[in-house]
Structure formats: structure tokens, C-alpha cells
Amino acid sequence: MKGLLIKDALLILRNKRSITTLLLVCVIFGFSMGENVPFVLCYTATVFGIMALGTVSYDEFDNGYPFLMSLPVERKTYAVEKYVLSLGSELAGLLIGLLLCILSAAVRGFNIEPMETALFALVSFPILIIIMSLLIFIQLKYGPERSRLVMFLFYGIILAGMAIVSRFKDRFDFTGMIENISPAAAAIGLLVVTVLVVVLMCRLSIRAVEKKEY
């Protein structure tokens, strides 16, 4: 896996123009919107995760897969490495976002509520991980081109779900149901769901990569 991580890190770093632009946008958002900690954290974490996910496209670019899969790299390792890289990058993005908010607070003189920020980070990070796990699976299963179409379907399903929830909001007290869950139970539940989704998506990704022919 070390070789693959080195390859992907180099691929990201070699794309200087994109990475500089994205980092610059992160810094601008971090400083100008530092008081909106949730937004900055989500933004930087997502940007870093997407940057890592983009390495799947680089791998496919110029018919690169046959060579890549002829290297002493097991297909399972290839799929798992994408999870390690993307989820690791999201975590790095989250920490960088936090650092930017703290720097912004120090420079611009506003306060950041440490407990509130930590709580938000703990809640939002698993959700981001779940979304990223799904995205990695879609990319590995369908490839960068077809995955765009699948993404539209994915967003469509989410929107349809939201529409259904809003339709039945009068019959079911969703807010009340959520408020009745204790913070500890919610945290454990979220953690369990996150682990389950990551493991499931990772397994499905491994199977997708193993089934592919190059």
C-alpha cells in the first residue's frame, strides 16, 4: 500500500495549479468565514477528500489501469488504499479547517466555542466519511465517466427521500424523535452506522475492483 499512497500523494502534489487554487479558497473561506466554524470544517474536509478521490480519475487517465494492475499490487489493496487516502485526507482537511478558524479568531478577535466546535466536528466527520465512502464505491465501480450519471441518480434518491420526509412531517414528529434520543445513544448510533457503511462500501469496492478486467 505504501507504493500506492506515494503514487497518489505525488499525483495530488504534481497538480500544483488545482491544489493551490483549492488551498487558497480554503484559506479565504477560513479567514473570512472563520466564525462559521461548521461551514469551514465541512468545506475544507470535503475539498481535501474530493482531491484524494480525484486520483481514481488520474489512474484511469491515458489507459493507466493495465499498467497499474500489473504492478505488485493486489486489487484489494488498491481499493482499500483509496479509502485510507480519501478518509485520511478528509481528516486532514477537517484539522486544517479547524486551524484556519482558530487563526481567523486570533487575527479577527472573535471567540470560538471549543465544546460546540468539538461536538460539531464529531458529528459532521462521520457523516462526511459516510458520503465519501459512497463516492469512492461509485467511482471504483462505475469509473470516473459513468459515475457522474450514477451521482445524479444518487442525488435524485436523496432529494426524493427528503421530499418524502417533508410530506410526512405532519404525521410523524421527526424533530421530537431526534430530540428524544440521548446524546450518548446518538453518538454511538452514528459511530456504528459509520463503521458499518465504511466496511460495507469498502467490501463492495473490493469486489468491484476484483471483478473488473483491464
Binding site: G3, K7, L11, R14, F61, G64, F67, S70
Partner: protein
């Protein structure tokens, strides 16, 4: 080193069905027209595609079950597939170093200098020849026991082709136990390099022979209809009839030269094999 047993792969109307062997310490060539099945065979050896039937054994084990250490002993230079164009050669060094425990960095850097491959330039800015040289160099410097090369000289000028073939030859001199499978439709590249040749056509192996035997014994006999009708055909492999004569590919030209002293019997090259055995015979 590699044993392929009744390997089958079907793509629509194309059906591959081959058996072949790549022995230790030999350079085995695979010739055939475009679409004959060379790349499919190579992909099956490397495990890039799943066979529909048959098996591929590498180092005495089914290629599906190779250990990581065994996979490190295989390297490949594939046609039009290599490191991402966004990377630099310097990056390829770092990646290969971390993937192959026997990667010879000194040799790699030395050959980059000799072959004028800049270390600090994106690979996508390389010429076709530079990319081909880099692909072969990457395969050679991993210290592999088995090298698989798919059309390593395709689309290159003579000078670049000679440089690549010399690289492979030098590697084999330094690693006499290593094996190379090299496919090409440029037969002259293989004539001076390979120990034995497989001719593949329409997904089937039509011929397997030592290169020396082909070049020393095989011939093309040119004859008119009368001579053709009276011809002893025991060494005739294939016959092509054109407007004025019959051209017969034979596996013993000396036999026909002595039997029919007035007939024209020319030496056969690999191109003749491809054209006559892969064409429409009589």
C-alpha cells in the same frame, strides 16, 4: 516459467484458445497481425483479464494465487499504458522503489541519462519514443525474473527501436535465468532477439518454432501450376496462389532446393510466416 494450458477468452466474435510455454532463460516472441490475440494472451498472463477456460501458471502456480513476493518477480511494459502522464520520472523512481524490493535505482538513473530521459519533466510531455523507452526501462530495472512486453517498439523510429531491443538484450546477458515474452507485429525486431517464436492468428497458435530454425530452414518456394501439382508437399505449411504463381511456405527449404533445383526457393522471414500462415491459403 510460464505455462498456458488451453487458455480461452471470448469477446463477441473473437475467440482466443492458446497453449504455450515460456521457459527459463529464454526470450520468447509472439508475432501476429493486429487483433490476432497477442495482447489478450499477455493480459491473461498478467491477470488483467479472467480466462473463460484454461489456466495460466507462473512460477509453477496458478497466476490467480501468486504471492506478493512472486508478483514482484514479474514486470510488464505494456503498449500505451504506463505511469500517469502527470508524474515525473523522478516520481516513478520513488514509486518503483517502494513497490519492488529489487528495484535497481542506480541502473534506472544511469539509463535515464544514457537514453536522455529527463527526470524532472512531466511524462505527458514526453515524445512517443521517450514514453516507450521509459516503459521498458521501468520493467527492466525491477530485477524481474519474468518480463512481459507488449509491442514495446510499436510506432517508434529505427533508432529508438534498436535502443529498446539493446536494453532487453543487455538485461538478458546480465540475468541469464530471466525470461522475456515479447509481442510485436514488427517481425524484424524479433528475428535478432528471440530464441523462439509463437505465431498467433485469429486467437490460435499456428506455429511454435526456434527462431534459428525458422531463419535457417524455412523458405518460400515459388512454382507454377505444373510444379505445384507435382510437388512433394510433406514440408509445405501453407500455400498462397496469386495471379502468376504459387508461393509455398515450407519448413525445409534445403529439401526443396535439392529436390527441385530449377525452382526458386527463398529464405523465409517472420513476415512471410505472418503473411502466408495468417492469410488465405490454397
Amino acid at each position: 516459467m510460464v505455462i498456458i494450458n488451453n487458455l480461452e477468452k471470448h469477446y463477441g466474435s473473437f475467440h482466443l484458445n492458446v497453449s504455450m510455454e515460456i521457459p527459463d532463460g529464454r526470450i520468447t516472441g509472439m508475432i501476429g497481425k493486429n487483433g490476432a490475440g497477442k495482447t489478450t494472451t499477455i493480459k491473461a498472463i498478467l491477470g488483467l483479464i479472467r480466462p473463460d477456460a484454461g489456466s495460466v501458471e507462473v512460477f509453477g502456480r496458478n497466476n490467480k494465487d501468486l504471492t506478493h513476493a512472486e508478483r514482484e518477480r514479474i514486470s510488464a511494459a505494456l503498449a500505451e499504458s504506463g505511469f500517469s502522464g502527470w508524474l515525473y520520472v523522478e516520481d516513478a523512481v520513488k514509486i518503483l522503489r517502494s513497490l519492488y524490493s529489487r528495484f535497481d535505482e542506480g541502473m534506472f538513473r544511469e539509463y535515464c541519462r544514457i537514453l536522455n530521459l529527463p527526470l524532472k519533466k512531466p511524462i505527458k510531455e514526453f515524445s512517443m519514443g521517450m514514453k516507450a523507452k521509459l516503459r521498458v526501462l521501468c520493467a527492466l530495472c525491477t530485477g524481474a525474473d519474468l518480463m512481459i512486453m507488449d509491442e514495446p517498439t510499436a510506432g517508434l523510429d529505427v533508432e529508438a527501436r534498436i535502443e529498446i531491443l539493446e536494453l532487453i538484450q543487455k538485461y538478458m546477458e546480465a540475468h541469464p535465468d530471466a525470461s522475456v515474452l515479447i509481442s510485436s507485429h514488427i517481425s524484424s525486431d524479433l528475428e535478432g532477439l528471440c530464441d523462439d517464436i509463437y505465431l498467433i492468428h485469429d486467437g490460435k497458435i499456428l506455429l511454435h518454432e526456434d527462431t534459428d530454425v525458422i531463419l535457417d530452414n524455412y523458405g518460400v518456394l515459388k512454382c507454377d501450376e505444373d510444379l505445384y501439382n507435382a510437388l512433394d508437399k510433406q514440408y509445405i505449411l501453407s500455400t498462397v496462389q496469386d495471379k502468376y504463381m504459387y508461393r509455398c511456405l515450407c519448413s525445409d527449404r534445403h529439401y526443396y532446393s535439392s529436390l527441385y533445383p530449377d525452382a526458386v526457393v527463398e529464405k523465409a522471414g517472420l513476415d512471410d510466416l505472418i503473411l502466408m500462415m495468417g492469410g488465405k491459403g490454397v
